[in-house]
């Protein structure tokens, strides 16, 4: 009951501090948006150097098709910022990290390409770093796209040769012009000859060859693209409304809020000089810690639900695929309460140890960002980050929220993550009770 009175007091204090509440709500939302933008767009266009040692002209003609070099490179390199550099400058910038990779077009590239007898080489040099594999993939995609364009030209040329063989006419191969009779012309000549066994055999050959070359035209296309990737019109949720983003945004908001509130609220009991009044029998230290954990849980439920409702309204208004899982919101509320309480227990520990609200708030801010970032590091890539992250509620809250809202069969995950949250809350709650003794020192 006395813990409830303190909790009610804290809520009343919050109600009388609208600016503080606004900052506490807006700040984590802003951080969530920034992290989202960073995760989506950071390194989206890594800087890659292009060293043209072959001095490619503005336009080149390959297999009878004209290519605008700069325009082509620009079109196929949407995912990288391609900059033309001298070999020395490219080396320097690759060494000091301003470039993540350099593509060298070696001397003789164009001649080899036009010769159609050998494949010319592009040379990719990369630096070392987390996005190097991604840049390699992007460069492979770039070369794939270049090849695709050249293939189209080659395929068109091949089709022209086949058409020339069928229909006859004037053609050019390797720069040399010549006349071709073609199967049609042969057929016309055969029609003028008197019938006979040999003429009939040639006529049969012309017939078979015409069929075979008809198939060859399709075969040229098929061998050029054994498998084609078809991209149907966009379907599914936009990134901003995906399950993962909602779960992260909710977890980040309540982690920040609950940690700051619990830490600040318990330390402010000492700042306001009230702790002595309370401790002389009105409120035990255990009740005090419970009150702050309760405050964190209540605020997490209220503001977490508000954030979830904003997502829900956006999903409904945008008629997003799948719609909002309204019937799952009660599960989310349970998760918000547990996560808020677990984070609140850590906040109460920080506040008790820090003993003054300003220090407690600073420590809470310093702690919250590493905890969140640890939760964002893929555990498959950096396992220790995953283990460390497991000791804090953030990552369990993310998994709970995502499962509660979107998993078809969420119960196993919910029970598992709820057990983690309760365990973490109990351990930190116990430590907070011990740490609260410092408030009286």
């Amino acid at each position: 009951m006395r813990a409830y009175l303190l909790l009610r007091k804290d809520l009343l204090v919050l109600r009388r501090s609208p600016a503080l509440v606004a900052i506490l709500v807006l700040y984590p939302v802003m951080i969530a948006v920034l992290i989202g933008l960073m995760a989506t767009y950071a390194n989206a266009k890594p800087r890659v150097g292009l060293v043209d040692e072959d001095h490619l002209p503005p336009t080149i003609v390959v297999a009878g098709k004209r290519f605008h070099v700069d325009r082509t490179i620009e079109e196929v390199s949407r995912n990288v910022d391609l900059v033309h550099l001298s070999p020395e400058e490219a080396d320097r910038q690759l060494d000091d990290g301003r470039l993540v990779a350099v593509i060298d077009i070696p001397p003789g590239f164009l001649v080899t390409l036009k010769g159609l007898l050998h494949s010319p080489h592009l040379i990719l040099r990369t630096g070392q770093g987390g996005i190097t594999p991604r840049v390699e993939q992007q460069m492979q995609a770039l070369v794939y796209n270049l090849n695709l364009r050249l293939q189209r030209a080659f395929t068109a040329a091949d089709r022209g040769y086949v058409r020339l063989l069928v229909e006859g006419g004037r053609g050019t191969v390797l720069g040399r012009d010549f006349d071709v009779l073609g199967l049609d012309g042969t057929q016309r000549l055969l029609d003028k000859l008197p019938p006979g066994p040999q003429v009939n055999r040639i006529r049969d050959f012309v017939h078979d060859a015409r069929i075979a070359l008809g198939l060859a035209q399709q075969a040229v296309d098929a061998t050029a693209h054994p498998i084609q990737l078809e991209v149907p019109p966009e379907r599914g949720r936009s990134w901003a409304l995906s399950a993962q983003v909602q779960a992260y945004a909710l977890a980040l908001t309540i982690t920040f809020l609950s940690l700051m509130l619990a830490a600040g609220a318990i330390a402010s009991e000492r700042d306001e000089n009230v702790i002595g009044r309370l401790a002389r029998g009105l409120v035990s230290l255990g009740q005090l810690v419970w009150a702050k954990i309760g405050l964190a849980a209540v605020v997490a439920v209220l503001l977490g639900s508000a954030v979830a409702l904003i997502f829900a309204v956006a999903i409904q208004a945008g008629n997003v695929t799948g719609g909002e899982p309204w019937q799952r919101l009660p599960l989310l509320v349970v998760g918000l309460a547990m996560a808020g309480a677990a984070v609140g227990a850590i906040g109460a520990l920080i506040g008790g140890l820090a003993r003054e609200a300003r220090t407690a708030s600073l420590v809470a801010i310093l702690l919250v960002l590493p905890v969140v970032f640890l939760g964002l590091v893929p555990r498959e890539i950096v396992p220790p980050a995953g283990w460390l992250s497991d000791l804090f509620p953030f990552v369990h809250a993310v998994r709970f929220f995502a499962a509660a809202l979107f998993d078809v069969s969420p119960w196993r995950t919910l029970v598992y993550e709820a057990a983690w949250l309760i365990g973490i809350g109990a351990v930190f709650g116990f430590l907070a009770r011990l740490g609260a003794r410092r408030l009286l020192a």
């Binding site: 006395r2 009175l5 007091k9 009343l12 204090v13 009388r16 501090s17 306001e272 000089n273 009230v274 702790i275 002595g276 009044r277 309370l278 401790a279 002389r280 029998g281 009105l282 409120v283 009286l440 020192a441």
Partner: protein, 216 residues
């Protein structure tokens, strides 16, 4: 009503109060005097139960209710005076928290508006501090420099309240550096210096003692 048996308090390596024994009797006003840092506030906080002694014990007669007013006002700055009083009345278990808050707010001349108590004048904050102390009808009042920021009228009211409690067989312990407090209400005086109890006796005896000369 309350007895301190060889209680001491240390804050880390710093000794705030040497082992000290002191008893508070029914129907008396005990004045704790001494210079700054003598240990008066620490002794009061220990008697109130707001601090735990590093050694020794505090004995309190069963059922005795204690009110404690720390030197620095102890209330929630974001809440109004009325909201503070209602909250502490509830925590003290008052049967009619709103009635008790109303009575004490008017009795101490506190403003009846919604202003945060942190915006009150120093004097009004001290009045609120004392009003909260009176909640729960305490038998013993432990007051730390209670008159330091009160105007003469409020000071006289406080002396009257202390006298009334004494007459009702209650007790008042006030830490003070104000000679007027001694003259008006003190029955007994305890003198502290550097965390040690130098003198403990009736006011008349104190006046004749060397301790009185020290703090004159």
């Amino acid at each position: 009503m309350i007895a301190a048996r060889r209680i001491a308090r240390r804050f880390g390596a710093q000794v705030a109060l040497e082992p000290t024994s002191l008893e508070v009797w029914d129907g008396e006003v005990l004045a704790l005097i001494g210079p700054n840092g003598a240990g008066k506030s620490t002794l009061l906080a220990l008697l109130a139960g707001a601090l735990e002694p590093s050694e020794g014990v505090i004995e309190r007669r069963s059922g005795v209710r204690v009110g404690w007013a720390p030197q620095r006002p102890a209330h929630y700055g974001r809440l109004s005076a009325r909201q503070n009083l209602v909250l502490f009345a509830r925590l003290e278990g008052e049967s009619d928290p709103n009635g008790a808050a109303e009575r004490l707010a008017s009795g101490h001349g506190l403003p009846d508006d919604d202003r945060p108590s942190s915006t009150l004048s120093v004097g009004n904050r001290q009045r609120l501090n004392l009003a909260i102390t009176m909640l729960g009808d305490p038998h013993v009042l432990l007051l730390d420099e209670p008159t330091a920021s009160l105007d003469p009228l409020q000071r006289r009211k406080l002396w009257e309240s202390a006298s009334q409690l004494r007459d009702a067989r209650g007790a008042v312990v006030l830490a003070t550096q104000n000679v007027e407090d001694l003259e008006h209400v003190a029955d007994r005086v305890a003198v502290l210096l550097d965390g040690r109890l130098l003198f403990d006796g009736p006011f008349e005896e104190y006046q004749r003692s060397e301790a009185a000369a020290i703090f004159a």
